[in-house]
Every structure is written in C-alpha cells, then in structure tokens.
C-alpha cells in the first residue's frame, strides 16, 4: 500500500484534478458546489501525498508524458514549493467551505469553475521549474483571477477587473520578453541550468529589468500597486481572499525563485537589493497610512495587503549578509499573511452579509452579534500586527533581528512604524465593534460555516507561531536558498 501511494505522481494530480473538476462544473452546473468542494478536498489530500513523498524521498521531479526538457515539461517540487502548495491548499479549503454557503445558485455556477482553474494555475505555477512554464501558469492563474474579480458585475467590479487585467497582461508580457532574452543569451529555460550558465552582462540586466518590473507590477509593490485596492476591494469576499492571500504571492514566488537562482548571486550586491528594500519600505509605510485612512473595511484590508507585501521586500537588502535567515523570514511572513489576510477578507464578507455595508464607523456591536467573526478579525490582526505568538511575529522577529545585527536602523524604524500603524488600523475596526449604538439597519443571518472558516484560518495564522522549527526544516528540503545563501 505504502509503495503504491508513494508511486502516484501527486504533482500531476495537483494540476489535473482541479482542471478536470473545473470542467466537470461546466458540465453539471446543478451540483457545482459539491463538485468544487470534493475537488478542493482532493487537492488538499494530494498536497499531503506530495508532502509525504518529499519528506520520504527528497525533491520531487516528474517529466510530464515522459518527454523531459527542453521540449517537454518537468514538474519540480522542493521544500519551498511544498510550502506554497500547502498554503494554497489551506487557504483554498477555508475559502471553499466559506464559498459553499456564500454564493447563491447562479453565482456558484460561475464561481466554482473559475476558482478551480485558478487553483490549477497556482498549483502548476508552484510546481514549475522553467521560466517559460512559469509564464504560462502565471497567465492561466491571472486570467482566472481577473474573471473571478469581475464575477459580480457592476461598475466597480468590472472597472477593477479591467484595470487588473491590463496591469496583469503588461506585467506578464514584460516577463515574457525577459524570458526570450534569457533563452537567447543562455540557451535554456530551466532555472537551475540558467543559474549555472548566466553571467553578468547587458542581456542579464535587460532581462532582470523586464522580468523584475513585470513581476513587481503583478505583486503590487509600491508604486506599482495602483491596480490592487480597486480590484481586491470590489470583488466578492471569497475572491478577494484568494487574490490577496494567494495570487499576489504567486508572482512574488517567481520573483523569489529567479532572485535566488539567477539574479541574486550576480547582481544582488550592485544596488538592486537596496532598491527592492526601498520599494518595500515605502510600501510598508504608504500602504499602512492609506489603510488607516480608509472608511471602508474592504479597502482597508486591501491597503493592508499593499503594506504587508512591502515587508517581503525588506528581506532583500538583508539577505546578502544574513543569507538563509532572510528567506526564512520572507517565507514565514508570506505564509502567515496568506492565512491571516484570507481570514480578514472572509470576515469582511461576513460583516457585509450581516449588515449590508462595510462602513467601519457603523460596525457597532458586531462583537455581540458576530462574536466568532470578530474573534477571527482580532486573531488575524494579531498576526498582521506581528504580535506574539503568531506566524507574523516569527517573520518580523527574524527581520528585526537581522536588521539590528546589521545596523540597518532605517529598516528597523520602518518595521516598528509599520507595526504601530497596523495596530492603528486593526484597532480602528475592533474599537467600533464594542460600541453600543442603536441598530439602524436590517441584519441577515450569517451561516455558521462562514464564521468558522474565517476563524479557523485566523487560528492557523496564530498557530504558525509555534511551528517555525518544523516548517522551516521542511522548507529547507532541496536547498532552495542554497545558491544565494552561501557566500564566500
């Protein structure tokens, strides 16, 4: 039995299962919710299967159809891929359970196939090891994400989605041109091989500029974040959760992979890392201040995403001296942000459902009426603020420790200020939850599974604070940080 389970190419299952599930949803729209839930559970189990394989045998490789590179496609998964797949599966499970109650019949038939295609795109992306395949999966994921953002129709959602689509296409085409240049220059698209072959020169710099700009745009790093708040705030809550928690992380993941294997070792110390850090620092401050200024909950959460993405880039200037610790911090921040931010958007969905609006100033007394939802927001907030014990705390602790050890006081100040501002916008919401104004609006019941989905995701973000040692040891499988981590 054990041998059979470990022989299954789980990576392939992870891509094919949601693709087939999505098509099945088109074919049998009446049972779409059930099909969707079963598929997502299946994907979660497959991630577990893949994880078991990786723990047993080390890095996972699979040549699709037996073709192999350069014309065929290789699937590849090390510890870092596994972590991203796990985050996707966890967030996906939470959002799926939530969506089963959230979408009514008509919306459900549109939501589920798109979400399953998105899931397929995400899984394929995290399993890809060549830069062209990453482009294809990036587009697959991006198109599904745009369609999801436009799901409810209406001027705001359509406008947000259109802006998102144009930004996404601009980003991925810039990336594609970079791919063309790298292939021309070094004759391969395989990341590992490229890492061995690349040398500094005009081709490398041009590719870095194009791919970097494209991916930064898709990751919504300040000042390229303009498309994110309208798209994330106007989409339905579960979609916003997916976009903020996973889709943005996917393009960041590509950037991280490229940096680790190809660009970092060559150009890391020539000011590019400083530039990335500067963008990150500005994003932290600007996004937090914007979040604090918002009067709508969903926009607040969306700007908080802009700020939290900034933290991921603070690690780049620290990595030269701190090596693998910097990337550990990034991974931890990304993982816990995925869980916490998904929980927050689901909370916003609950409040919208309950009160029919998301004006922060009118959230009175929700703490009595939706205690689980408020609790979810508070717990997710703990991780976003970086308070202990939570995944966010571990990430920020590592960052702070490195910044202090390297005497980078500028980054220290940014991190502390970012934490304070985050506390400001989180408690701006929570403070209103306790006041006792009269109820002025009709309220609708919120199904229990919607409240619990948000709460469990938030609890997950907090529990991550206790799991750093095992998680980080799994991430190290296959030495994803090795190239950039080891320096003479």
């Amino acid at each position: 039995m054990g041998a059979e389970v470990s022989d299954i190419p789980w990576g392939l299952v992870l891509i094919l299962l949601p693709l087939m599930g999505g098509m099945a949803c088109f074919l049998w729209p009446r049972v779409t919710t059930m099909l969707g839930l079963v598929t997502v559970f299946g994907v979660a189990l497959s991630v577990a299967g893949l994880g078991w394989q990786i723990l047993e045998n080390g890095v996972y490789r699979h040549a699709v159809g037996g073709w192999g590179a350069p014309l065929g496609i290789d699937l590849y998964a090390d510890g870092l891929s596994l972590l991203m797949l796990t985050a996707t599966a966890l967030v996906g499970l939470g959002v799926s359970v939530y969506s089963a109650a959230y979408f009514r019949r008509e919306d459900a038939t549109r939501f589920w196939p798109l979400w399953l295609f998105l899931l397929a795109g995400l899984n394929a992306l995290f399993l890809s090891a060549d830069i062209f395949n990453l482009y294809v999966t990036l587009e697959l994921m991006g198109l599904a994400a745009v369609a999801l953002a436009a799901l409810t129709g209406g001027k705001d959602a359509l406008g947000g989605a259109m802006r998102y689509l144009l930004a996404a296409l601009l980003g991925s085409l810039a990336y594609l041109l970079g791919v063309a240049l790298l292939y021309h220059g070094f004759g391969t698209v395989d990341i590992t091989l490229l890492g061995q072959r690349v040398e500094s020169g005009p081709v490398l710099w041009a590719a870095l500029g194009l791919m970097g700009a494209g991916l930064l745009l898709k990751t919504a790093v300040f000042p390229l974040h303009f498309w994110l708040p309208p798209a994330h705030a106007s989409a339905p809550a579960p979609v916003s959760a997916l976009l903020s928690a996973l889709v943005v992380k996917a393009s960041f993941y590509i950037l991280l992979r490229l940096w680790l294997s190809i660009f970092g070792p060559l150009v890391g110390e020539e000011g590019v890392d400083t530039l990335l850090g500067l963008l990150g620092a500005t994003a932290v401050l600007w996004g937090s201040v914007q979040a604090l200024r918002q009067t709508r909950l969903k926009l607040l959460i969306a700007y908080s995403t802009v700020a939290q993405i900034g933290y991921l880039f603070l690690a780049f200037p620290l990595a030269a001296a701190a090596g693998v610790t910097a990337w550990h911090a990034v991974i931890y921040l990304a993982f816990s942000h995925a869980l916490a931010k998904a929980a927050m958007f689901l909370v916003a969905g609950n409040l919208l459902r309950f009160g029919g609006h998301d004006r922060i100033a009118d959230l009175d007394r929700v703490v009595q009426r939706l205690p689980l939802t408020t609790g979810a927001f508070a717990l997710a907030g703990v991780s976003i603020m970086g308070l202990p014990p939570s995944g966010g705390f571990i990430g920020k602790w590592l960052l702070l420790e490195m910044a202090l050890a390297q005497g980078r006081w500028d980054l220290v100040v940014v991190m502390i200020l970012g934490g304070l501002l985050a506390a400001g916008y989180i408690f701006k919401v929570l403070g209103r939850a306790f006041t006792q104004a009269e109820v002025t609006h009709k309220s609708r019941a919120v199904p229990a599974c919607m409240e619990w989905a948000a709460l469990l995701l938030a609890i997950g973000a907090v529990l991550l604070g206790f799991l750093a040692v095992p998680v980080l040891s799994v991430v190290g499988i296959g030495d994803p940080f090795g190239v950039s981590g080891v320096r003479p």
Partner: protein, 499 residues
C-alpha cells in the same frame, strides 16, 4: 516529560481553558459560568500551592517550547515568579467572587468573564516567564485581553478610554520589542538569570545597553504608569469596578512593575545596572512619579480617579525599591508588589460597593457612609491606613524597609520623598475617612439599592473584607515563615549575596 514540566503549563491552563469555554457559553448559562470561574480559580490556587510546596522541597519546575532555533518559550517557577504568581492566584479568586456579584444581571457576561480569564492567564504567564521573550508574549497578550474589558461598557467614553489605553500600551509594546530584539542580537540569549546575563558583553556595547535599558524600562513603564507614561490609567477608570481592581492591583500595572524588577535584577543585574549608571535616573523617575501621583490624587473628587492616581504613586515604590540598589531597599520594593496589591484591591472593591449600593462615585458624596456601610468602610479604612504607611498594616513594612534601605545605600533624599508621599497620602485619604465616619449622612443617597438587612450583597462584601484582613495579616505576621516579607528577603539574598 514529567510532572515538573507540566505543572507551570497547568497553572496557565487552569484559567485559559475555563476562559475559552466561557466564550462559547450562552448568556443565560449563569450557573455553569460561575462554576467554571470558581473551579478554575480554585484549581489554580491549589496548583500554585503545590508548586510552592514542591519548590520548598527543592523541586525545579520548568517548561520549554522552541519557537525558533535559539528562541524558546520558557515557563519557570523561581522565587520571584512564585511571589507574583501566588499573589495573582489569590487575588484572582477573590476578584472572581466579587465580579460575579458585581455583574449580576448585567449584559455580555460571557464575553466579560472570558476576557477576564484570559487576562489572568496572561498575568500568570508574565509571572512564570523564564526569559524576556516569554515575558513579552504574555505582556502583549495582557494588552489584548484587557482592551475588551476597558471598553466593556460600550459607551463613547469607554471607546475613547480604550483608544488611549491602546495607544500607550501598543507604543510601549513596540519599544519593548525593539529593546528585546536588540538585546538578543548582542547576547544571543534572553534567559532570566539572577544577577543578570550581561556581564560578558563587551565594553564597546555599553552605550547600546544603556539605550536598551531605556527602551525596556519605557516599555514596561507604560503599564507601570511611570510618569510621564501614566496618562492612560485615570482614563481607564470607565471600566467596571472589578476590572479596575484587577488592573490596578494585579494584572496590568503590576506586570509593568514586575517587568522592571525583572529587567534590573535578572537581565542587567543590580551590580551591572549600577555600573552603567542607569539606576540613579530610574530612582529619580520613580520618586517624581510618587510625588506627582500623590499631588494629582489630592485634587480628584471622583473616588476611582483618586484611587487611580494613588496607584500611579504607589506602584513606583516598587520601582524605587529596586532602583535604590541596596538589598534592604530591594526587600521593601519587592514586598510592596504584594502589599500594594492587597491594599489597593481592597480600596477598589470598596469603591465599587459604594457605587453599586448607594450610587456614590464622588468623594464629596461620602458623608456618613460609614454608618450605612460599616463593613465596607472598615475595609476601606484598613486599606487607606496601609497606603499611608501606618502600622500595623502591610504598607508600613514596605515603607520601613524602603527607608532603611535608602539610608543603608547612602541615599538620604529618599527619606524625604517617602515622608512627603506619606503626608500627601494622609492628605488625600484622611478627609475621606473623616467624611465617612464623622459627618452626618444625607437624607437620601444618590441611587440606593435595597439589600434587605445587609449593607450590600454578600458576594460584594466578602472580598474587600478578606483582602483587608490579608493586608493586616501581611503586616502583623510579617516575620512568620512564608510571609511576603520573608519571601522578599529570600529574593534579595539571591540577587545580592549569592555568587
């Protein structure tokens, strides 16, 4: 793992689990909620007693959980921890009884008692923390758990008070985090060690260490209400009386003061801190806080605000005792941690009784109240005399040792501060007592509730009487074994004399 590992965890769990269950209870499950509260409080008391007994038998209680390589959550039962944890466990039981009586019939009790239990959990965690990071974890949890209690009433004033409270404590928490991480990068450890763990740090880092000291003291000073970081405390008085009692006697302010004690004794070490020259300014800051708090208390008509400023002043006795840098003063400071808790909680319970029974919120409304509520006012009187420092109440012991310690350390100016503060204490407490006992009662009280032949509900009356008796006992039986004073001596010996 054996029992010695699990016991500290069980002490934490004995309030955490009831709290989490209570969150899930429907509002009308009154009996179950009361049962959970009381069982949790009693179990905790028993466990703490067990730990005390075990420690006296030479057992070592410690639990470790690795957060990151080199960074661990540590719960450990040292002498200082046990002193604070015993105080918390005893006062939690008393306050629980009081809160059950006080909140009878009011809305949102499940939420209240849930956070109340979390708050105690955090306090016990702070007490048992074996290193600075664990301390920080529970210290932040304490901030989060007390916030809903401060805003519990849900009024606009409560929301604003909560906001002020948060701004202070979150800023304090950020400074603390910065100081902690910085310290960690210099030393690679955060483990509380008697006489500190910094003696190995090189000369070139001493300036950084001074800044770290300032950061840590500022972080803890917010909760300990050190001037000028005390602004949140009087505002937080909008909270219900049991919250004020718990916040001011045990949880929040004490956690701050306890943190300062930890930083000076177990992080920097007394000798090292004096060498850096940081204890002198700390002593001055404490002295200023003592005088300033007393002066402000003098002019408050609102009873709870007067008590709040009195707290600002009294908590700094602890800090003063620590900062004088002599063994006898240390005894006075550490023992005041317990004594102030007992006395101040008594006073807040009494203030709550006056408000609940007669609708009295102001000092000027207290004429003749001693005749209407003799037991309550008797307890109040004990507490007030203790604060003034009159023998034989516990407060006298604290001041005696502080004064002696100051002379021993050659810092005579402290005597002037102590004397001035005692005079001021007398000036703001004696008029209250005079009104209560010697003036004629008015024709009608502001808002009188009928409790039959008793002066007030039994569950409101018992707690202050019990804590007043404890405050008396702590003074009268100061030299008995296991008294707070004996305990404080043990801690001082450990800090100053053992190699």
């Amino acid at each position: 793992m054996n029992g010695n590992t699990w016991l500290p965890l069980l002490v934490i769990a004995s309030s955490l689990l009831p709290g989490l269950i209570i969150f899930g209870l429907a509002e009308n499950r009154v009996r179950l909620r009361i049962a959970l509260n009381l069982v949790g409080a009693i179990v905790k008391l028993v466990l703490v007693g067990w730990m005390l007994w075990g420690t006296s038998q030479g057992l070592h209680y410690e639990m470790r959980l690795v957060l990151l390589p080199g960074l661990e959550l540590v719960l450990r039962a040292g002498p200082l921890s046990l002193l604070f944890v015993s105080l918390s466990a005893v006062l939690w039981l008393v306050t629980t009884v009081y809160a059950i009586g006080y909140l009878e019939g009011s809305p949102y009790r499940s939420r209240f008692f849930g956070f109340f239990s979390l708050c105690v959990t955090a306090t016990v965690g702070v007490a048992l923390a074996g290193n600075l990071i664990t301390f920080l974890v529970f210290y932040e949890l304490l901030t989060l758990a007390t916030y809903p209690l401060v805003v519990h009433r849900g009024t606009e004033a409560a929301r604003r008070a909560g906001q002020t409270y948060l701004i202070y404590t979150v800023l304090g928490g950020a400074l603390l985090l910065l100081g902690t991480v910085w310290l960690y990068t210099l030393t690679g450890t955060l483990e509380f060690t008697p006489q500190g763990f910094l003696s190995e740090v090189g000369e070139e880092h001493h300036f950084a260490l001074i800044i770290i000291f300032v950061l840590l003291i500022a972080g803890f000073g917010v909760k300990a209400a050190l001037v000028p970081l005390h602004g949140w405390l009087p505002q937080a008085m909008v909270a219900p009386a049991p919250v004020s009692a718990l916040l001011h006697a045990v949880a929040v302010v004490k956690a701050g003061a306890f943190g300062i004690v930890r930083v000076v004794y177990d992080v920097f070490g007394m000798e090292f801190a004096s060498g850096l020259g940081v204890t002198g300014p700390l002593a001055w800051l404490a002295a200023i806080t003592i005088i300033y708090g007393s002066m402000r208390a003098l002019f408050q008509d609102d009873l709870k605000r007067r008590l709040a400023y009195s707290t600002v002043s009294q908590v700094s006795y602890i800090i003063l005792g620590v900062a004088i840098a002599g063994p006898i003063a240390a005894i006075g400071g550490v023992v005041h941690l317990v004594h102030q808790g007992l006395m101040k909680i008594t006073l807040f319970f009494c203030a709550g009784n006056l408000a609940e029974t007669l609708g009295i919120h102001k000092v000027s409304e207290m004429n003749g109240v001693g005749r209407r509520m003799p037991w309550t006012m008797a307890a109040f009187t004990v507490g007030a005399f203790g604060m003034i420092g009159a023998p034989p109440v516990a407060g006298f012991i604290s001041k005696w040792y502080l004064g002696l310690g100051a002379l021993e350390a050659g810092q005579g100016w402290v005597i002037i501060v102590l004397a001035g503060s005692s005079l001021l204490n007398a000036a703001y407490f004696l008029p209250i007592l005079h009104r209560a006992w010697f003036r004629e009662p008015p024709d009608a009280w502001p808002e009188e509730h009928d409790f039959g032949r008793k002066e007030t509900a039994l569950m409101l009356l018992l707690p202050p009487v019990v804590t007043a008796l404890m405050a008396l006992a702590a003074g009268l039986l100061a030299s008995a074994p296991f008294s707070p004073l004996e305990w404080a001596k043990l801690i001082a010996v450990r800090e100053f004399y053992q190699p």
